[in-house]
């Protein structure tokens, strides 16, 4: 890891957070790529690859549920952790801090809607 790099570096294939864990933070990818995958009955289903600058694990900021997916480094990846407690405290005094997060979640809802529509049209 370079001396001026912020965050934590994960090696290729290293698990960043696992589905089912209780999360108290979200991540911002500083460098590299991260695979998002869900595990069911021992079978891994890759959902997508997240790239530099993207938020990950943001649902943990707003709920107390278990992590809905596993995050795994693809190649070497560096991620910065944003603490839930401090983030929510800042959002309380500056709600606009959550704007990009809401924007990200909005895009994900849109992508999911497109995916549902595509699957339904395939079924038909």
């Amino acid at each position: 890891m370079g001396k001026g790099e912020l965050g934590k570096t994960y090696s290729d294939g290293e698990i960043i957070t696992r589905q089912g864990d209780i999360g108290d933070c979200m991540y911002v990818i500083q460098h590299g790529q991260v695979q998002v995958l869900v595990e069911k009955d021992g079978v891994e289903t890759p959902l997508r690859i997240a790239k530099e600058g993207e938020f990950m694990g943001e649902m943990a900021i707003f709920d107390h549920e278990e992590r809905s997916a596993t995050l795994r480094a693809v190649g070497e990846a560096r991620l910065l952790t944003i603490d839930k407690k401090n983030f929510l405290k800042r959002v309380h005094s500056d709600p606009s801090l959550a704007f990009r997060l809401v924007q990200t979640m909005s895009k994900r809802v849109r992508d999911l809607s497109d995916e549902v529509a595509r699957l339904r049209s395939t079924d038909d």
Binding site: G2, K3, G4, E5, L6, G7, K8, V28, Q30, G53, L80, T81, I82, D83, N86, F87, R90, S93, D94, S96, L97, A98, F99, R100, L101
Partner: protein, 456 residues
């Protein structure tokens, strides 16, 4: 309040930013860049087109003193996270070193305080391109990085000095050296407390009074990257030494250099030498290290109070020339005040009343927290004076660092004090917790006991 064009009681139409409004920002440091960035960001979100012009005579891509903004250059943990949430990530070409721990040095011993999350979330940066004796330029300037982000958002930078500011029909007129007065809809002043431009506002009868300030001492010693790695590592080294007039001292590893920052009362050569000669300081530096008189050094002023009347119709002061955090996280305070200013200007208006209602509360909360901070530093001064208190702090911190667990209260208090990551209010609240008081009280008792083992 007045009756607006639609006949309703509301804000004055002429004191709102509209499509094509012109904003002048004097000062291109973090406060000036942040306010410009967020003005353009908020305007974009609300479908507004603004013309933002930054007046900054310095080129931050140059080495000091031509491109330096004279500061310790620490980006706090909280600010790193806030910026990341804003989509502003700090690249390794700008961060000279990620800090992952603090070393507290006292005459009774030293202790390492690890970051609570085992992650580098504090950045050591240079505000300009580096010290004047810079041998190889390997990293970029933090201020230059912010300026580039702001320009990418659509701001213009005018590399000229503002020599006059006046008002015509309530609108600010800005004159640069050798130029004609130009009219703007809003003037944002972000000149810090070291700029001569501040005089343009203290002598024009607007009611603005600059914040109280004190002098600091910063010097940059060349050690080379390998030596830095071997001696200082990824830690910021802070010193609580019983040296009269010395409030706080730190050595920050940055690239090839070690930045020495001293805060205190009337810092002079004698005080600096006392610090550099202290065995605890010598122990951090390489064997045989001697100070080089040619090293880049400065004694900038830092703000230790809040400005009086830092806003008027179409005029607002942000960053250090408005209010900043006491001794720590000045860049974090610049971010907060700049963002509050931009939000007010775009969504509320640019009248004196708008800034008083929506911008000033943010400044006031920083100012109130500084009052609590003064109390914290009074306590720290007492610890600096009493050897048994220093031993108690050391013992309690060492014990906490040896064990895992959540209640590392002294470590958390020291971490937040040194890093500027938390408001002083939170630090005092934690230090007033019965658990903390009981533990610290016990350590004080043990340290003061004539039967206690000494560090010697």
């Amino acid at each position: 309040m007045t009756v607006n064009s639609s006949g309703q009681l509301g804000k004055r139409d002429d004191l709102q930013l509209v499509d094509g409004s012109k904003v002048a920002v004097i000062g291109g440091g973090p406060a000036g860049s942040f306010v410009s960035y967020f003005l353009l960001e908020m305007a974009e979100r609300s479908g507004l087109e603004l013309d933002v012009e930054i007046f900054e005579p310095r080129d931050f891509s140059c080495v000091a003193p031509k491109g330096c903004n004279m500061c310790g250059g620490i980006i706090s943990e909280t600010l790193v996270q806030n910026l990341a949430a804003e989509g502003i990530n700090l690249p390794s070409t700008v961060v000279q070193r990620g800090i992952e721990s603090y070393m507290l040095h006292m005459d009774v011993g030293s202790v390492r305080i690890e970051t609570p999350v085992q992650e580098k979330r504090i950045g050591a940066v240079y505000r300009g391109a580096g010290p004047r004796d810079l041998k190889t330029s390997k990293w970029g300037s933090f201020d230059h990085h912010l300026e580039r982000l702001t320009v990418a958002k659509g701001a213009r930078v005018t590399r000229n000095r503002v020599v006059d500011v006046s008002f015509d029909g309530g609108r600010p007129l800005v004159t640069v050296k050798g130029g004609q007065p130009q009219s703007y809809d809003l003037l944002v002043v972000a000149v810090g407390v070291n700029s001569a431009a501040l005089k343009l506002f203290t002598e024009n009868g607007l009611g603005y009074k600059a914040p109280a300030s004190t002098k600091t001492f910063i010097t940059e010693y060349y050690l080379g990257e390998e030596v830095i790695e071997r001696t200082l590592g990824d830690s910021m080294h802070v010193f609580l030494l019983n040296i009269p007039r010395l409030e706080f001292a730190a050595i920050i590893p940055k690239g090839d250099y070690a930045s020495v920052c001293l805060l205190g009362e009337s810092i002079d050569k004698e005080l600096v030498q006392s610090f550099l000669d202290a065995p605890q300081v010598r122990a951090c530096m390489p064997d045989g290290w001697a100070t080089d008189p040619r090293s880049c050094q400065c004694s900038p002023k830092i703000s230790v109070g809040a400005a009086i009347q830092p806003y008027a119709d179409r005029l607002v002061f942000v960053g250090d020339c408005g209010v900043t955090r006491l001794y720590k996280d000045g860049i974090g305070a610049a971010y907060r005040t700049a963002k509050a200013c931009a939000t007010t200007a775009v969504f509320e208006g640019i009248s004196e009343a708008d800034f008083r209602r929506h911008y000033w509360p943010v400044c006031r909360s920083i100012s109130t927290d500084n009052s609590i901070g003064k109390l914290s530093f009074t306590m720290t001064r007492q610890i600096q004076k009493w050897r048994f208190a220093r031993r108690a702090v050391l013992r309690m911190t060492e014990k906490e660092q040896r064990r895992s667990g959540r209640h590392r209260d002294m470590s958390q208090v020291l971490w937040d004090m040194f890093t500027g990551s938390a408001p002083y209010r939170d630090i005092v609240t934690l230090a007033m917790h019965p658990r903390f008081l009981a533990r610290f009280g016990w350590e004080l008792f043990v340290a003061a006991s004539p039967f206690s083992p000494t560090e010697d």
